[in-house]
């Protein structure tokens, strides 16, 4: 009864053309990101030419040496040791938070899910705060590893609660987010409570860390965050088809052969770890995790095999753009990019939603 059609390849060709268009858009994003990296490095107290940035980086990689404290030495030092780590950290935060947001939205079948609305960010922040202020860590690990481990363990608490709540009958996606927000408030309150016990100096450093900034990040801070974010994002990319199936609902996913609970647990653990590794170094960067996946969906549709890589490109673009604008407006660096992002990104996203003719959800 299934007749073989003469134009059997028609759909294959159409789908290839459709896929190619999306890949071109993502490739365009990669080029834009590459340009923004250069621009971001040029902006600052010392004027460094846009094209000079790429030359300096290239010469640094090829092992060029300069006379100590000469102009070239300073340029090399500022580009490679001061500004580059911030740019790389911004890229990693952009990739990790937006990929986490996109994946969470599919895993929880909820357009409002992101590391913040699920409570994972707040809990991870609390984990870092008690490590910073009270010196309490879950593992006997010193330095950044102990802090990241703390953030991960606390970040897993809301993830576990959300998992348990989702197993109850008749739980709607909106209820899950309400549960996440309730947990978020709980950990924020605990966080404030712990802060009130600290000295003024400690409160200041904890607060400055929490508001979400790339300032002060050094190369030594990056390997752990980069390793976790890149590994997690690649795994999410590999799982993108399964994320599509999970977003179709538990009933459909089970009937298509997917063990929903196992995959949901695996994804939430991985996403909590990614979020914890970023938050431990940058503080809370809201907005990108929730909004960037939706902007990607407006541009590319909702297939996760495009959305995951698109987020990995657009997330860093948004963070670097906010950082550049912040540095241009306030060269002293006292305007954290988290604030810029929400100020400009909020209205832009609102405009996109209003102009959007397709149904987003």
């Amino acid at each position: 009864m299934f007749r073989k059609n003469a134009s059997d390849d028609e759909l294959v060709q159409k789908y290839s053309a459709y896929t190619f268009k999306k890949m071109v858009i993502i490739f365009g994003g990669i080029l834009t990101l590459f340009l923004l990296m250069g621009i971001s490095i040029t902006v600052g107290f010392r004027d460094i030419d846009f094209f000079q940035v790429y030359t300096i980086v290239f010469e640094h990689i090829t092992g060029a040496t300069y006379e100590y404290h000469s102009d070239e030495w300073w340029d090399d030092w500022i580009v490679c040791n001061t500004r580059m780590p911030k740019v790389v950290a911004g890229i990693m935060a952009g990739i990790g938070l937006t990929v986490s947001g996109a994946a969470m939205q599919s895993v929880m079948k909820n357009p409002l899910a992101d590391p913040y609305t699920t409570g994972i960010s707040s809990a991870a922040v609390f984990g870092v705060t008690i490590a910073m202020i009270m010196g309490i860590t879950f593992a006997d690990i010193n330095g950044q590893y102990g802090i990241v481990f703390n953030a991960f363990i606390f970040g897993m608490i809301p993830a576990a609660v959300v998992m348990l709540v989702s197993r109850m009958n008749s739980i709607s996606p909106a209820t899950l987010i309400l549960a996440g927000i309730a947990i978020s408030y709980f950990f924020s309150a605990l966080d404030t409570l712990v802060m009130t016990m600290a000295t003024a100096e400690t409160i200041k450093s904890a607060y400055l860390w929490q508001i979400g900034s790339l300032d002060g990040l050094r190369w030594v801070d990056l390997p752990l965050m980069t390793g976790i974010v890149i590994t997690g994002s690649i795994i999410m990319g590999i799982l993108s088809k399964k994320l599509n199936i999970l977003s179709a609902g538990d009933e459909s996913a089970t009937s298509l052969g997917l063990n929903v609970n196992n995959y949901r647990l695996l994804c939430l653990m991985l996403l909590s770890l990614m979020t914890a590794s970023i938050i431990s170094f940058t503080g809370i960067i809201g907005f990108v995790g929730l909004v960037v996946p939706h902007v990607c969906r407006i541009i590319l549709g909702s297939d996760n095999k495009f959305i995951i890589p698109a987020c990995a490109v657009l997330g860093p673009i948004v963070i670097l753009s906010a950082d550049i604008i912040g540095k241009v407006i306030s060269p002293m660096g006292d305007l954290p990019m988290g604030i810029i992002m929400s100020f400009i990104g909020g209205p832009v996203f609102l405009m996109l939603i209003i102009k959007q003719r397709r149904e987003m959800w």
Partner: protein, 259 residues
């Protein structure tokens, strides 16, 4: 691949069963329609067959294997499921939605073959023109055809369908049910379909299972099941059943006033 259902029960809470002690033997290549009023457990029953819901008691044997010993992926290769509604979701294209049905079979590099299978099914259901449209932009009837396409590309030996034609007009209801009947006759696939249209069920199904109050009230050929007495008890309606080309045809007269 016969399915033997032996005395199964299911409920979400301890004292509240949704289906209670159902037994039935489903045979290869036959078209079964499950009938019954709203809330008697029809959807719950078919969702127990492919392990979407876990049984409270009883046994289901698929080809003499207990469903508990069959993995979800194996199950998805054997049984295709077409839900009543796709529910809210992020809008994928029709092709991507139907491609999900290939998940139990797909391997690295199998996309071209999977797309060819999707193409065949979309052509069969006459929805090829919707291929690159977003699923959420379609009508309810088109949604049902896409969901059916997703079940068909699973290439299952059994197809479970939860009211697959409820949003379709009369012509498309007949067309889709005829496709299902052809699947039974020509490919030997077993079809188990929940249906509210008694005459569509009578026209195409080999056997009917009439459910009432969490149990099977009557089973057998359409002529055996669709009697005025059964319809009065189960649905609370007065009806006349006439013979039309060897199949019963139900004419509804009135509904019984509730005392």
């Amino acid at each position: 691949m016969p399915i033997e259902v032996e005395d199964i029960s299911f409920g979400y809470h301890n004292n509240s069963l949704i289906i209670d002690g159902i037994s039935y033997n489903f045979q290869n290549g036959k078209f079964y329609a499950i009938l019954g009023p709203n809330g008697v457990g029809k959807s719950t029953f078919i969702r127990c067959i492919n392990k979407i819901l876990k049984l409270k008691s009883g046994t289901i044997l698929i080809d003499d294997r207990n469903v508990n010993d069959i993995t979800l992926k194996e199950m998805a290769k054997l049984i295709g499921y077409v839900p009543y509604s796709a529910g809210d979701s992020f809008p994928l294209t029709v092709v991507d939605t139907v491609l999900m049905g290939r998940h139990p079979h797909s391997k690295i590099g199998s996309l071209v073959d999977d797309l060819k299978k999707v193409h065949e099914v979309l052509e069969q259901l006459e929805i090829m023109d919707l291929a690159l449209r977003e699923f959420n932009s379609l009508s309810a009837g088109q949604h049902q055809k896409v969901m059916l396409a997703r079940g068909l590309v699973q290439e299952p030996e059994v197809l479970l369908l939860d009211e697959p034609t409820s949003n379709l007009d009369v012509r498309h209801q007949m067309e889709v049910t005829k496709i299902l009947k052809d699947l039974c006759d020509q490919k030997g696939i077993m079809v188990i379909m929940i249906c509210h249209d008694l005459n569509i069920a009578a026209k195409y199904a080999d056997e009917l299972m009439l459910m009432y109050d969490k149990k099977v009230y009557a089973k057998g050929t359409p002529s055996e099941v669709l009697t005025p007495e059964n319809l009065r008890t189960v649905y609370g309606v007065e009806s006349t059943v006439v013979d039309h080309n060897g199949r019963p045809c139900v004419i509804l007269d009135d509904f019984l006033k509730q005392s």
